[in-house]
Symmetry: C2
Subunit: 406 residues, 2 copies
């Protein structure tokens, strides 16, 4: 076995002995390399009491190197490959997880946020290239029609603009984001919390096959690994840290989706949140997140997302504005005169000038201007508002209508 | 005529000569008092060129003092009263408007944000007392069913907790907020942009009568004044500055409601925004406001509003959380064991300990605990998940269900 092959085998074995993200293991690998770290742990030489116990317990179920070798064979049969930091396609951005520290950690899983030791990948794109320009779109499984619509639009719009969509594999928002990206013919990446041969949930098996055909299925766990609960949280750090930003579309009050956004915040990525009706339980978590994290950005669509993650000066969202009306360009005097005109009938220039608080000479000049703009008509008995005409925007815009719009 | 009566008449006359909020007039009144200011302006002695022209133009339509005297008589017949800073019921908070300066002013109306010279009031509550603990609820006229529901709930909830609801008189959100407050039997104040004898819009005339019966109808303009367009913006500064905070419920991209919130921000009041579906045109303005003003607070209901405007330590909103589950109280080892149990069937303690990565002695201890919590059952062939039972919350909460929730 070559040194390279030994290293790869050791990384797989280490991921089996202790869950991905374990800081003590990552530190050892950084210092000693994977092979020496594996030897040290198997010899009972772990510097960390908890890790020592875990390795000993796990080892009673099998020989770590043998388990790893079997996993590699199984991956081969699956058409999946192992990707390690030694490979060219390793996604450099996940190294940023080494500085991810969540505050107020009470569960061990929230503290074990070290970078991955390896990835299992199905699909033909190089992993690093796929994640280079990527945005995560995550959210509730029990999504509403509203949330699924928004997630599909985001997935479609991002992929259409050559951004890679990244999400988990769950029903609801995750699946909708992938489907949107697939429908645009773009690139989408599903990061799973179990072996690539165990589609979870089963109902998304067809979706996973479509993703693997044109995008990537990715996992830190070897073939055969089960989707145990803490693995979703461990996986979430990769979704947050492997992308430039995370968008949460819907989340209930107690949701894993906001856990991903939380990791994005503390990994110095952009955390983005799509609001929803305050009457929807599926938007409670998103609104709480916006209230709790001033750094989180409210986004309402692809343009806003691109504004956050896009390079400065490009991909900027236009400010939402109503249509420009001719009256918008008027100065204060012309505006005052327009607004002083009666809704019905005409008014002489003297009275009009007094009502508007401008002198008569100015009034005459401004009224000519208003006539030119077809906002006002001159009649025998004075000046009157122009009759409402169908505007080009298909909506009549009369002064009477606008007079109550502020 | 007493000196007091002369002062009152002069304030009314000044409001007729130049629109409320005019800074030059307010500065003169602060320095010279209302009577001397009126004399100065009528003598053509205005220090401000624009004000000079306006006063001269307006004066061609009548004698300012005579117009004011007539307005006072008309108010008397209406059952309305004039309130000035000399009255005990003057709302002290509006004085804060003297420091309100909007940035990037291009329209004159955005610069003229001085405190009011007087108010016309219909209703029996003292104005200052009514506004002491008040929150503004404003929004789109073309509100959706969603927005009207939220505004009604806010109006009801605030008034029920002895907060005064303040709004304009428009259809949509304004009317819904008032109706909610009225339905709770609480206090609501409508601030109009025209004379109190000219209900605008007419369709709300019945609502205005109900408001005057138990709350207050308020305006800076004398009886007979028309609802000219700029008056709504002038009025908005009073809604923003007279309350502790302003909540915007729905607003299109180009909306007067966000103008009120903008004034709240720059008057150092709390600006609050209720989000909505990103697919709704009526929430575009609210979302843009949240994006534009980091100081604006996203609120989803009365509890959040009270948290912002309530006194420190009282009226605090609880953080939205899902129900506590027994598994929430488990330590890492117990949780790992619970999650390592197969979905169906039992597993021996040795295999279970290896899967969970804990030693066998710890496993046995934690499994007893899990048995006590009725999360796990001991069987002849090992340990198994407890069968799903209807929980007290009417929803089965099994480990299998929770294992995919992160």
């Amino acid at each position: 076995m070559s040194a390279d092959e030994e290293n790869r085998l050791a990384r797989v074995a280490l991921t089996w002995l202790a869950e991905p993200g374990t800081r003590a293991v990552h530190r050892l690998v950084e210092r000693l390399g994977p092979v020496a770290t594996l030897d040290l742990l198997l010899d009972g030489g772990s510097p960390d009491g908890w890790l020592h116990t875990t390795v000993a317990a796990r080892s009673t179920a099998g020989d770590a190197r043998a388990v790893a070798a079997e996993a590699l064979e199984r991956a081969d049969r699956l058409g999946a490959r192992l990707v390690t930091p030694d490979d060219e396609e390793w996604p450099a951005r996940v190294a940023g997880l080494s500085t991810l520290h969540l505050p107020d950690v009470t569960r061990r899983v929230d503290g074990e946020t070290a970078p991955p030791l390896c990835f299992w990948v199905r699909g033909s794109w190089p992993l690093g290239e796929a994640l280079e320009r990527s945005v995560a779109v995550v959210g509730a499984r029990a999504a509403t029609g509203y949330g699924q619509h928004v997630a599909t639009e985001l997935g479609y719009g991002l992929a259409e603009r050559d951004w890679t969509v990244v999400s988990g594999g769950a029903f609801g928002i995750d699946a909708a984001a992938h489907r949107g990206a697939l429908n645009s013919g773009g690139l989408t990446v599903a990061v799973l919390a179990c072996g690539l041969d165990r589609p979870y949930p089963m109902g998304n098996a067809g979706l996973f096959d479509r993703i693997a055909d044109t995008g990537l299925l990715v996992s830190e766990w070897p073939p055969g690994a089960e989707p145990l609960r803490p693995r979703f949280l461990i996986r979430n750090r990769v979704i947050a840290g492997g992308t430039l930003g995370t968008v949460v579309v819907e989340a209930s009050a107690r949701s894993g989706a906001t856990q991903t956004a939380r990791r994005a915040i503390y990994a110095n990525r952009v955390a983005m949140v799509v609001p929803g009706p305050v009457t929807s339980a599926m938007s409670v978590g998103t609104h709480e997140f916006l209230r709790e994290f001033p750094k989180a950005r409210l986004v309402t669509g692809v343009a806003h997302v691109l504004e956050e993650v896009g390079r400065i000066g490009t991909d900027l969202a236009p400010l939402a504005r109503g249509p420009q009306r001719p009256a918008d360009t008027l100065d204060d005097d012309a505006r005052s005169l327009l607004e002083a005109l009666p809704r019905r009938g005409a008014m002489g220039v003297d009275r009009l000038a007094a009502r508007a608080g401008v002198d008569v000479r100015t009034a005459l000049r401004k009224l000519s201007l208003l006539e030119e703009l077809t906002l006002v008509v001159r009649r025998d008995d004075g000046y009157a508002l122009a009759p409402p005409a169908k505007s080009k925007r298909g909506k009549p815009a009369t002064a009477a209508e606008t007079s109550a719009s502020a």
